[in-house]
C-alpha cells in the first residue's frame, strides 16, 4: 500500500519525465563559483552519508578535500557526477544547470570529469588510442564508425600527451605503463573531454615519491583552466599542492581554509587524532 501511495503521490514527478538540463546553453559562472552544493543530504538505510553538506568551488580553483574514512568524500563525488541522487538539497553547475536532474552521461559530457581511485585505462589500447576514445566528440554509433581526427584533434591530443608527460610512450599499450603513468593517462583521458571541473580521487595512492611530485605539478598546471577537486589522504601531498582545503566529517564540512588554518583548527585535530 505504501508503495502504491508513493507511486500515486501528486506533488512530484518521476526523474525520467523531467526534462534534462540544457548543457548546451553554456555555463554561467559570472557569480564566481562553478559548483554550488547546498544543504545536500544523502542517506543509505538511515545512515547519513552526507548531512546537510554545503560547499562552493570557484571557477579555476584547486581545492583539496580531506577527511577521515566515512566522511562522505566519495558520496559527494557520486552526487556531483549524477551517480547518487541527493535526498534533499540542491546541486548546481554554474548558476544555471541543475545537476540533480542530469544523467550520469549528460554530466560527463557536460563538463564534469571524474578520475576514479583505481586507474582503469584500456590496457590493450595504446596510450594514444586511450586518449582518442576519451576525446570529446560525437559519441553516437554511426558518427563514430566514420570518425577520423582532424588536425585540431591531433593538436589537442599532442598537447595533452605533453601535459601528462607521456609523449614518448604514445604507441605503448596502456597495460605496459607503470602505476603512476596509468594515473596520468587517466587524467589525460579526462582532459580530452575538455572538462570544466575535474574530480580527482586519490591521485597519488601507491605512487613513488617522484611520481607524487610530478602529479602535484600536473594538477597545479591544470588549475586555472579547469577547476580541480582533489580528494586525498596523503597529508604531505595535500600540503604541497593545496591552496584551499575543505575538511569533511560525518557528511558535512568541518573546516575550510588554507592548510595551516585547517591544521590548527582544534576540531580538525580532534577528529584526526581522537579525543
Amino acid at each position: 500500500m505504501t508503495v502504491l501511495a508513493e507511486v500515486l503521490r501528486r506533488d512530484r514527478v518521476f526523474d525520467f519525465v523531467l526534462p534534462e538540463p540544457d548543457f548546451a546553453g553554456g555555463l554561467d559562472t559570472r557569480h564566481g563559483p562553478i559548483l554550488y552544493v547546498e544543504d545536500v543530504t544523502v542517506a543509505f538505510d538511515g545512515f547519513r552519508a552526507l548531512d546537510r553538506l554545503s560547499l562552493y568551488v570557484d571557477d579555476g580553483e584547486l581545492r583539496c578535500i580531506i577527511g577521515p574514512n566515512g566522511a562522505g568524500k566519495t558520496t559527494m563525488m557520486d552526487v556531483l557526477t549524477g551517480r547518487t541522487r541527493p535526498d534533499s538539497g540542491s546541486v548546481w553547475f554554474g548558476s544555471r544547470i541543475d545537476l540533480r536532474r542530469a544523467s550520469e552521461t549528460a554530466i560527463a559530457r557536460g563538463g564534469i570529469g571524474r578520475k576514479f581511485q583505481t586507474p582503469t585505462v584500456f590496457e590493450h589500447h595504446s596510450v594514444m588510442e586511450n586518449l582518442e576514445l576519451a576525446m570529446a566528440a560525437d559519441k553516437r554509433v554511426w558518427p563514430t564508425l566514420f570518425a577520423h581526427m582532424d588536425s585540431a584533434d591531433r593538436d589537442r591530443l599532442a598537447e595533452v600527451l605533453a601535459l601528462i608527460g607521456l609523449a614518448s610512450l604514445e604507441r605503448q599499450p596502456a597495460g605496459a605503463l607503470s602505476h603512476g603513468q596509468k594515473q596520468w593517462l587517466e587524467i589525460g583521458m579526462l582532459l580530452m573531454q575538455n572538462p570544466r571541473v575535474l574530480l580527482v580521487d586519490e591521485p597519488v595512492a601507491g605512487m613513488t615519491h617522484q611520481e607524487m611530485e610530478q602529479t602535484g605539478e600536473l594538477l597545479q598546471r591544470l588549475a586555472g583552466r579547469h577547476s580541480v577537486i582533489v580528494v586525498e589522504h596523503d597529508m604531505a601531498f595535500v600540503r604541497s599542492i593545496a591552496r584551499q582545503v575543505t575538511v569533511l566529517h560525518q557528511g558535512s564540512v568541518l573546516a575550510e581554509g588554507t592548510m595551516d588554518e585547517v591544521q590548527n583548527d582544534p576540531r580538525v585535530v580532534e577528529v584526526y587524532l581522537g579525543e
Binding site: 550520469e104 560527463a108 588510442e129 554509433v141 604514445e170
Partner: protein, 375 residues
Amino acid sequence: MTADAKSLPRLGYRGGLLTGDIAGRVLIALLLAAAVAVPAANLLAPEGSLLHLSSYTVTLLGKYLCYALLALSVDLIWGYCGILSLGHGAFFALGGYAMGMYLMRQIGTRGVYGDPVLPDFMVFLNWDRLPWYWYGFDQFPVALVAIVLVPAVVAFVFGWLAFRSRVTGVYLSIMSQALTYALMLAFFRNEMGFGGNNGLTDFKDILGFDIQADTTRAALFAASALALAGGYAICRFIVSSKLGRVVTAVRDAEARVRTVGYRVDHYKVWLFTVSAMLAGVAGALYVPQVGIINPGEFSPLNSIEIVVWVAVGGRGTLIGAVVGALAVNYGKTVFTGVWPEGWLFALGALFVVVTVFLPRGIVGLLRRRRGEEAA
C-alpha cells in the same frame, strides 16, 4: 612515407582499408583468384586431367566459404566485443530460410502436386492459400532484402532487450542459445508454414538457372567467394575504425567505456545486428549449394560449432575466423568420412585442447612464432 607523415599519429592517418593487413590482402587475393580459378577448373579443365575439380568439390568448397563468412560474423562480436553468442546459427538459418522461400516459389508447377503458387508441403497440409509472409518471395529482390533484414530485425530486438538490460557474459550466451532453440522448436511446427521438420527442399532453379547445373554451382561458388571477400572487407573496416576501438574497449572494460560517455548498449546492438546480417548472407548462399534448409540448422549444436571454429582459428583476428572455419570443416569432412560417430568427441576434444594450449588459436600461434605482438 616521409618522415613528416610518419610522425603523425597513426590514428589520424587513414590509408587504404588493408594498409598493414598482409593476411587480409592475401586472403582477398586468394578469394578473387579462387572465384575465377575454381569454376574454370570445374568447367574448362577436361575430366580426368590433374587440374579438374569435380562439381562435388566445388560445392563443398563453396559450403566452406559460407561457413567462413559465418565464422567472421561470430568473430566480429565475440572476438572484438566479447559477446559470446551461442545462437548465431539462428541468423544463418533465417537467411537460409529467406533464400529457401524464394527457391520454393520458383518451383511453381513442377512440384509433386503441381500447384502453381503453393509449395508442396502446403498442399499436403490442405492449405488453400499462401500465408501472408510468403507473399513477394517469388521476387528475387524481395528475397534479397529479407535475407539481411529478417536476421537484422531479430538480432536488433534480441540485442535491444538484452543489452539495454545490461545482460552480459554467460547469461547472454545462455539467452542466445535459448533463442536459437526456441526458433528451432517453432520451425519444427508445421503450422509455422516453413515446411516443418522437412524444411524447404527439392529446389529447381535460381534466377532461371538450373540449380543442379555445373555452371550454376560454379557461379554460386564464385558468389560465396566474393561474399566472403566483401564480408572480410566490411569487418576490417569496422574493426579498424574508431568504432572498432570502442567495441574492443567494451570487451576489455565495459563500465569504463560508459564513464567516457559512450552508450555501450547502442554499440552492442549495432554490432550484433551487423553481425547477424553477415550470418544471414552466409546462410542464403549456403542453402542453394546444399539444396535444403530445415530446422536442424537452428540446432544449438551448430551454433556452438561456429564458436569452436573461431576459437581454433584465433578469436579477435579476422583472418583467424576464416582459417578456423576452413580448417575445422575440412577436418570434419575427412574425419566423418573415416569415423562419423566420433566427430562430436573430436570437436569437443579440439575445443578443450585449443582453449588450454592455444588460447589465441592457430593465428595466435603463428604470430607468436614470428615474434609479433598479437593484435
